[in-house]
Amino acid sequence: MAIEKLSISKAINASLRTALETDPKVLIMGEDVGKLGGVFRVTDGLQKDFGEDRVIDTPLAESGIVGTAIGLALRGYRPVVEIQFDGFVFPAYDQIVTQLAKMHARALGKVKLPVVIRIPYGGAIGAVEHHSESPEALFAHVAGLKVVSPSNAADAYWMLQQAIQSDDPVIYFEPKRRYHDRAEVDTEAIPGPLHAARVVRQGTDLTLAAYGPMVKTCLEAAAAAEEEGKSLEVLDLRSISPIDFDSIQASVQRTRRLVVVHEAPVFFGSGGEIAARITERCFYHLEAPVLRVGGYHAPYPPSRLEDEYLPGLDRVLDAVDRALAY
């Protein structure tokens, strides 16, 4: 059956399964991805069906995981690496930015690094420290990496397929707080380009741009705004490197106002990059400065404060009001 209603986590599981089935070079690697099926059960059942040679429980060492994944890629494999939580990617950061991102260029194109790094990211799950971070900007700044984040099950399935098929390293950020959100996934549909944004709600007064977990928040904000007579367009960016500036520009040239929303801290976050570039492209179109809604310049707070810290409906609507007031 090609169309199924799946949660995001199940869609990722299905996508990994498809990849393992169709390409013998695909490997799954990470901590607890085998028997346990990962702490979020995203790899559930895969080791049972594909064996320990292809679904590999690794030692507890993230640099080792990514470093050996690079070696496996050099040997012709296509490793899909799981980092257990956002906050645990940093021991692997050197291998990612210094080796994984640059080796294709260093080799003048003679070697390819088809490695996918899956990272469940973001907050709102009531977790302890290091389990709720949004570090995407720290990867997007680095040339040689591609960075994407799906917001729904269908994208989760297809964007992962495309990431695995890509000959470039792709950091695939999974919106963990949305793992249980269900949607129809057509596993036979021909997907659009991996790095294209998508208008998920049309509107005329202002554009909300978001990705990953914040897309749903923006859709809810747009619905709430509609009741107040405001027509908001919502753009699911889907890709953070590259960013589909053409689509944002096209939307902003219609709506003339833009608010960018992400969980990550605003300071040096994707909102700044988008604001700068869209202001340059749409200088005469913008009726208001591009506003940003995101995390504060603070460590992710203890979970009892996360509702206050995270951008939610109200803070999005507040920014919308401020933008519309210009």
Binding site: E52, L60, A61, P91, Y296, L305
Partner: protein, 380 residues
């Protein structure tokens, strides 16, 4: 002969991983058998008074009770998560009681028993698991550092701290806790290197509880972990981690050794995580009940109770009093946690910098104004 050889595995590519053998009986330092009998070890003699024995017993019982209460509180929704030390009481109380007040301790997230020995109010340990803070005590009050979640990092902090102790010419020592899984992290290896090169007074205390979440120790090493130290130039020893006396004796010796300028040492406490990794975990997915049963027979508390009873070191009144003390502790923990307030929302902006930061100030103000706007609305 210059090759230091170990029996190699004959298979390749991790194929062997499925066939996990039950843990054999490794050579380890033991002073108290599972049956509660005192035995001697040539290198680690220990003299303990009946009172000390009762004290260790009390520590373990209260720790276990506290731990159980925390698990219950998590189930009741009072905590977001709990990482139980069940089964590791001897490793923690034995090593914890070995340290002096002026020593410094760097724990992982599971050292509730060590915290108890250091004098940290157990209630304070719960803050981070409840989600009201990320570390709820002053590390310098009891020379007990904050819980560290990112695996292995604290081994380096301990090493650096110990380098400082040596620079000060103090005769204190430092102890770093970590798990079998953590032994794979580069940071732990670098801590071994730094501590050896600077001859830092630090003891590495690895609780090998056989599991790193769902991964058995075979996924981290193919030889016993205590052997790791040798290649860095300092001694390693494996101790029965369910034997509080052995843990006490070996840790005390290692700390004294460090104190006297002989540098680092690695202790592998061979023990078992009786419960789930945390309350979020489901161990039935990856390990067999029989394994747990095997280890139940080696219970650290039970064996000390057997000794106390056999030797007549404790009477019924002692056990009854301890039961009452346990209940009181549990009640206090329960009551305090249930009324533990959420932090003020403005705390988001506190303590990010010691000397302030303009952006934090700006965001704090904006946040306050934003919050005030709701208050205004409501009051309208």
């Amino acid at each position: 002969m210059t090759v230091e050889s170990t029996a190699p595995r004959k298979t390749r590519g991790g194929k062997r991983a499925g066939s996990r053998k039950p843990a054999g009986e490794p050579q380890l330092v033991q002073l108290l058998t599972p049956e509660g009998e005192r035995v001697e070890h040539p290198d680690y003699a220990i003299d303990v008074t009946p009172e000390e024995l009762r004290g260790l017993y009390r520590d373990m019982v209260l720790t276990r009770r506290f731990d159980g209460e925390a698990t219950t509180l998590q189930r009741q929704g009072e905590l977001g998560l709990w990482a139980s030390l069940l089964g590791q009481e001897a490793a923690q109380i034995g090593s914890g009681r070995a340290s002096r007040a002026d020593d410094y301790v760097f724990p992982t997230y599971r050292e509730h028993g060590v915290a108890w020995c250091r004098g940290v109010d157990p209630v304070n340990l719960l803050g981070m698991f409840r989600g009201v803070n990320n570390g709820g005590w002053d590390p310098n009050e009891n020379n007990f550092h904050l819980y560290t979640i990112v695996i292995g990092s604290q081994a380096l902090h301990a090493t650096g701290y110990a380098m400082g102790v040596a620079k000060d010419g103090a005769d204190s020592a430092v102890i770093a806790y970590f798990g079998d899984g953590a032994s794979s992290q580069g940071d732990v290896a670098e801590a071994f290197t730094f501590s050896a090169v600077y001859n830092a007074p630090v003891v590495f205390f690895c609780q090998n509880n056989q599991w790193a979440i769902s991964e058995p120790t075979e996924k981290q090493t193919r030889v016993p972990l205590y052997q790791r130290a040798q290649g860095y130039g300092f001694p390693g020893v494996r101790v029965d981690g369910n034997d509080v006396l052995a843990c006490l004796a070996v840790t005390r010796a290692a700390l004294d050794r460090a104190r006297s300028g002989q540098g680092p040492m690695l202790i592998e406490a061979f023990t078992y995580r009786m419960g789930a990794h945390t309350t979020s975990d489901d161990p039935t997915r990856y390990r067999r009940d029989e394994e747990r049963e095997l280890w139940e027979a080696k219970d650290p508390i039970l064996r000390l109770r057997r000794l106390l009873e056999r030797e007549g070191h404790a009477d019924e009144a002692f056990f009854a009093e301890l039961e009452a003390e346990s209940d009181a502790l549990a009640k206090r923990v329960r009551d305090t946690v249930r009324t533990m307030p959420d932090p003020d929302r403005m705390a988001i902006f506190d303590n990010i910098y010691a000397d302030g930061h303009a952006l934090v100030d700006e965001e704090r103000e904006q946040f306050a104004a934003y919050q005030a706007s709701f208050a205004d609305e409501e009051s309208r």
